[in-house]
Amino acid sequence: MNLPSDVKVVQALLNANLTIPLSLLALDGICGPATIFAIRKIQRRYLNSKAPDGRVDPGGPTLHFLTDPGRIAIPAPATGAIAWGAKVSPEFKAKLIKICANLGVDPNFLMSAMAFESGESFSPSVKNKVSGATGLIQFMPSTASGLSTTTAKLAAMTAVDQLDYVEKYFNPYKGRLNTIEDTYMAILWPKAIGEANSYVCFSSPSKAYDQNAGLDADGDGKVTKAEAAAKVKAKLAKGLQAGYVG
């Protein structure tokens, strides 16, 4: 049984990897013939599969291929386009690029992390009702306090102004966020920054594992750094598509 949300992630990953002339898949969450055809095409072409099964299994070679960071093309900086750039204002984009230069982070990585955290809204006021986490990187009430503000104040400011708080939050990790995984770890689990992608972030039994069990793609009771960042990576793939990149 495929979850529509999982299918959407795979569709976005397929789109990001389609260098073969195929039209982009609609991100409809339905694992229909076009999606299966695209999976088979990639399995035949890149994984030298004689009998492509059209499946993307957790921990399997196809998922590994689709999420290989080397495969996801980053637009040349000369074009000035960044992932999700079409979904934010020119002021936001310009400030984000400047902040990323200060922090030594690829803007595509930070945009993808914010797309994931804010549910693609890039809204300063998007809020988790239970935890009270708010905004672009889902600032928790205690994090807001540490930054000398409140979540209500963060929600009331513009997205451009909230970027100042995003920069402050990321400041301790500047110069060390070399991959999209490291960039996301600054939000999820700072201890994993600089570790290998096989590093275990959370393992069962623990509250941290229970609350992140959905990230454990291969179901081995451990959430690795690669597994934890897979959804952010899928946002990078999606954000580089026409209509999102800009």
Binding site: S148, T151, A152, N171, K191, F202, S206
Partner: protein, 329 residues
């Protein structure tokens, strides 16, 4: 004295006692009894914007609060009124360390400078410079000689308070949640966002001794006054009491430990307060790890909790600016 007179005298004493009790009860403003009857609370006031930090001053006759509208207020506990107000960006702070005579305070400012200032006048005694990015936690050493600050800056800073000179700059590569000096030693302790507790010797520039206290990121922490115990809340709801000297876990608290937004420890280390995003303030017995009582705050979360020095009063502030006093006797 005859036995009849003795009888009348004690009868009078009883009457006087109840009369005094009646007067006392009428003087308590807006007492609302909750829970088992031993706990009552009343509103102190509203600072007009989210409370960032509020503590009771020694002697339990006054409280000090800072709120997101760049305001520091001193509150008189007897009448619940604001007795003094300071306004300006440097009066917005999320942590405070008091001098031993409680006449001055060390607080961060939004510009990342740290101020040591006079509570009566609001005037600066010392400005401690060096940090470039957000300072979220400050500490004073036992004898008041050293001040320290950390947060999202890439270093923990230690200064000599007497002249404001930099004593140590310890580089860090992770956000610092809370710092404290360990009394009776030269050690500076910190709780890091990666769940580690790190100890540094202020006498030298050596590397820290760090140990993982939590299997998840730390979001909130509070040290006992002597810096030997620390209560740490993790992002996924693990709440632990940690012994700094032994570098070991004292206890993991059970019950409602999710979504905590503020913490406090009593001076004797036996009680804890937690404030949450469910607007609930909880009182914990740290000897058993059990919750003793709870009460409800306002706004959308409880942003600050504090004990009086004798542990009989609690003060909590919420993100709507409201401050409430909670009697724990």
């Amino acid at each position: 004295m005859s036995s009849m007179w003795k009888h009348r005298a004690s009868f009078l004493l009883v009457i006087l006692f109840f009369a005094a009790l009646g007067v006392w009860a009428r003087q308590q403003p807006q007492v609302k009894t909750i829970g088992p009857g031993r706990f009552s609370k009343h509103d102190l006031g509203n600072s007009g914007d989210g409370i960032l930090k509020a503590i009771l001053l020694p002697g339990s006759t006054a409280a000090i609060s800072s709120s997101a509208n760049d305001r520091t207020s001193i509150w008189n506990l007897a009448d619940g009124k604001e007795s003094k107000r300071f306004s300006g960006e440097s009066f917005r702070f999320q942590d405070i360390a008091l001098s031993s005579d409680a006449r001055s305070a060390l607080t961060p400012t939004p510009s990342a400078a740290v101020r040591y200032w006079d509570l009566a006048t609001g005037k600066n005694i010392r400005i401690l410079a060096g940090a470039k990015v957000n300072i979220s936690t400050v500490a004073l050493s036992e004898n008041g000689a050293l001040a320290a600050a950390a947060g999202q800056d890439t270093a923990i800073h230690v200064w000599a308070l007497a002249d404001g000179t930099s004593v140590r700059i310890f580089p860090v590569d992770v956000a610092q949640i809370r710092i404290a000096f360990e009394f009776g030693s030269q050690r500076l302790v910190s709780v890091q966002a990666d769940g580690q507790v790190c100890v540094r010797n202020t006498q030298n520039q050596g590397p820290p001794a760090c140990i993982a206290a939590l299997p998840e990121p730390a979001t909130t922490a509070v040290f006992s006054k002597d810096g030997r115990l620390v209560l740490i809340e993790g992002q996924y709801g693990t709440l632990v009491l940690w012994d700094v000297d032994r570098a070991s876990l004292v206890r993991t608290l059970t019950g409602t430990t999710q979504n905590i937004s503020s913490l406090a420890l009593s001076a004797d280390g036996n009680l804890a307060l937690s404030g949450g995003t469910d607007k609930t303030v909880r009182l914990w017995n740290l000897r058993t790890g059990q919750q003793i009582a709870h009460t409800t705050g306002s706004g959308s979360y409880v942003s600050s909790v504090a004990f009086s020095s004798d542990g009989t009063l609690a003060l909590f502030g919420c993100d709507d600016g409201k401050l409430t006093l909670w009697r724990l006797e």
